[in-house]
Symmetry: C3
Subunit: 203 residues, 3 copies
């Protein structure tokens, strides 16, 4: 079940890679490259930091999920466009599941400080989107004011850390991280919660 | 022989790094940094994904090949400019050899799914150019419509995969990957083969 | 003592990450992300190339140094602005210490050629700034003509290599690398030493 949700998250990230490339007029392979980079980027950075082989490259289903996501986004751009809101919900699920998987893997690696494990969860969830934006020649959208995104990852990771300190099992901590991240993100979208810009720089 | 071709490919990628920096007016060290990033980038990403130390950093000859390529490009820019077409041929050889080395290393690592091994070959061949373009503040050229580039890597990798499934040895599979990639790339340049842009986005 | 200087260097790099984001109007978390990327980027790339887990992620003090540097830069932007020159001195110390730590770690790893160990020292010292500039959507400042920066790293690394060949201990070689880098950088700032631009490209 969790695994299927994870593959759904991968496919959603692939769709967002293709959709982001739209204004850039890539050719077909360029759009698919962006799909791969968006779906795999966060996990690749996480595993490189942990010093282990990239997990996603072991798994044919990841490959298939990205290809399916890419084809959908390429063939049905109008459907994807109309799906706007469901897509953001799916992206929130991808974000939460990636955050939980990244944070727990870092926490259990034995080579990462707990505070940095929370950071690494956020890197796993958001790294693909950062690479996507850099490859499109744009400043990563999550660095600019917008509805809470990285913040929801950090909140989820912190909740998981507290749960682990209170004696929660790995499975329960993972569920808490994913749940808090997804819930917080959906509420942030719904009520348009934002962080303040850095105000005193205006003068 | 293969090793000498590989060093030639490294030197060609170094030349392309210096040449790409031209419009950006870097100082000398800036141009050399771009040469190193272009020549080493693909292999570094591949080895980071495999979770092993970067192979190129073991080898003084790689260092020498990059320095020689940089100096040539810096001292003889007009010669390089006139060499336009031979340079693209040499780049095709670099691409094919990097693709073969990357794909086979991934295939034999035991930590990579065959479909992703083909992807990793393409990453090895094209990663340096992507980093070069990102460092120059530009959208990577291979994401934009142009003569087939990544596609030739994928075709070469796929041909190698089929050969391996038919029982070919490592050496023969490597030769097939490199041969198909180089041949396909040269034909694509000669006849200006391109992938279609993503058409229905135009409206 | 060395460790405290290193943490100071980390904090300085964090300040430079926040300061660089200024013109880009990020929100609070965006500025802090740039601080983390600037402070940790060079070491992460080095460790990925060496194929080992990222060292900085083991250490709570690194986390604390980055948070303190970020908060200072966010709360006291005018102080930071007036500190301009002291900040550059602190950055020079960070650069020298990162260069020494990176070069010696590569040299002792057994997987890196000595010439590339010097390169890897420079990557450790400058990688964070490169990532910072790429995330801000700008061409990395060290690729453009300016007071010697990467060059001072290479000079320091080369001096250390000579010392090692003459029989110096690890500690002494580290001190020489850091000392030469810092001294050279401060002199380059004071006297505005620059490398020539690549002149014959002008025509």
């Amino acid at each position: 079940m969790l695994y299927i949700l994870e593959l759904l998250g991968v496919a959603c990230f692939a769709v967002s890679g293709v959709a982001a490339s739209r204004a850039k007029r890539p050719d077909l392979i360029g759009a698919v490259i962006l799909a791969f980079a968006t779906a795999l980027g966060g996990g690749i950075i996480r595993d490189a930091i942990l010093g282990v082989p990239a997990q996603s490259f072991r798994d044919t289903n990841y490959f298939a999920a990205i290809v399916v996501g890419s084809l959908l986004a390429l063939q049905l751009p109008r459907v994807i466009q109309r799906l706007g809101s469901p897509l953001r919900v799916a992206d929130a699920f991808g974000l939460g599941l990636f955050n939980a998987a990244g944070m727990m893997k870092a926490y259990e690696s034995g080579t990462v400080d707990p505070a940095f494990a929370v950071v690494l969860g956020a890197v796993t969830g958001t790294g693909g989107g950062i690479i996507r934006d850099v490859l499109c020649g744009e400043m990563p959208s999550l660095l600019r004011p917008g509805e809470l995104y990285v913040t929801t990852c950090l909140a989820g990771g912190l909740a998981g850390l507290v749960a682990l300190w209170l004696g929660a099992s790995t499975g329960i901590a993972s569920a808490i991280i994913a749940g808090v991240t997804i819930g917080f993100r959906l509420v942030a979208i719904r009520f348009e919660w934002r962080l303040p810009a850095v105000m005193h720089w205006e003068d």
